[in-house]
């Protein structure tokens, strides 16, 4: 029952993300557009390139969706609204998100197209840049919660949300979250203006539906994980807990989708250099800061 309610909310959430995404790029708010686009894509032809590697070509989009869904079900919407109460929830989130890079590399290699291939390898480079910025802030959050369970992480934020206790970790994680979803300015693998769709350029029809759905669930997953890890999850006055989770997630989605519109696209090697020369030292400082505060601060 919990699972069904959770999945329904997720489905609605992914739909809302689709509406917001269109609004953030075109400036028009059309609530029915994702449904109509999806149906139209279902009815269109789904072409396969001449010499594609069938296994990788088919597995790429599916794996993207599977990875996003598996990462999502470890995140709570409310105290009772968590399908899988893993004791290692935060670690599970990381483990599932790694497969996003695998999925994009598969989708890049599969169609035997030059642009797709370049996009796939670009994303692997980007992954090496952002991966540590996902893991290290999560470690700092786990230090404060004394647990990797996502429920305990939210409960540990009752006195003070992590966004205020560890602002550095929050910023790093939010930037890395945008890189996981390859949203602008980290949209190197799918860069429309230079790679003609990049990794997913060869996907049409129903396969494109799966790709888009995977991307939407991924954005939702990362926004919800920012909410759970840093914005106090379901904590908040007056409204029911699940509503708080969803409202905060929507706010994070809005930020993630709109920030990139005002920034130039970041080259992979720049993302790598900034990630390693600035991001990782800052993430280590964040861990040290949290460690010292936990020892000297109030219990």
């Amino acid at each position: 029952m919990t699972l069904v309610a959770y999945l329904l909310l997720v489905f609605v959430g992914a739909y809302v993300v689709a509406v917001v995404e269109e609004w953030s790029t075109s400036g028009r708010l059309r609530p029915t557009a994702p449904l109509l686009h999806g149906l139209a894509l279902l009815a269109r032809e789904s072409l396969t390139p001449r010499r594609h590697d069938r296994n990788l070509f088919e597995a790429g989009p599916t794996l993207l969706l599977v990875a996003a869904v598996l990462a999502l079900v470890a995140l709570p919407l409310a105290p009772g609204l968590l399908p899988v109460e893993l004791a290692t929830g935060a670690l599970w989130l990381n483990a599932a998100l790694v497969y996003v890079a695998v999925a994009l590399l598969m989708a890049g290699w599969g169609p035997d197209g030059a642009y797709a291939m370049v996009g796939g390898f670009r994303f692997v480079g980007q992954f090496i840049g952002y991966a540590m910025l996902i893991v290290m802030p999560v470690t700092a959050v786990a230090m404060r919660a004394e647990s990797l369970a996502t429920i305990a992480v939210v409960e540990s934020q009752a006195p003070l949300w992590n966004v205020l206790a560890q602002p550095l970790g929050f910023v790093l994680f939010l930037v890395a979250a945008m890189a996981v979803c390859f949203l602008p300015p980290f949209d190197q693998p799918v860069a429309a203006a230079e790679l003609a769709g990049g990794v997913f350029g060869e996907y049409t029809g129903v396969r494109l539906v799966v790709v888009r759905l995977g991307r939407l669930v991924l954005v939702l997953t990362l926004a919800l994980s920012v909410t759970v890890l840093f914005l106090g999850g379901w904590l908040g006055p007056w409204l029911p807990p699940a509503v708080w989770s969803l409202l905060k997630t929507l706010a994070v989605v809005l930020v993630m989708l709109s920030v990139g519109r005002y920034l130039p696209r970041l080259r992979t090697d720049w993302a790598l250099e900034w990630g390693w020369k600035l991001g990782i030292p800052l993430a280590l400082v964040n861990i040290l800061w949290v460690g010292v505060v936990l020892l000297v601060g109030p219990a």
């Binding site: 032809e45 001449r50 599916t62 969706l65 399908p83 035997d112 390898f121 991966a131 004394e146």
Partner: protein, 120 residues
Amino acid sequence: MSPLQQYALLFGMAVATVGFVAMLYLIARSFGRTVAEPAKDVPFTAGTLSRSPVWVRYHVRYYGFALLFLAFDMEMAYMYPWAVVYREVGMVALLDMGVFLAILFLGLVYGWSQAALRRQ
């Protein structure tokens, strides 16, 4: 729920997601099939098949980062259990991990000085 049941549920979720995708494919199939027409199956490059093969060895110009990444990724495996017991163990934990992270950070600085953090 026991951990085994939880992982069984997660496995079930993975299978169900794949099933959902298969269902979408079946729905799309019911609308009609793809018509084979000339040049429809050419990957997007310049309207023709690319002259040189695409499946070749690709120069991964970020391999310096990739090697450092392996070291940091291994280190994170130690960080998670440490983070969970950190408050319980206290000062000793901070010093232990401080030394460990300092060595690792020196490694990063050394790599940086040897131009590992650069597009090769």
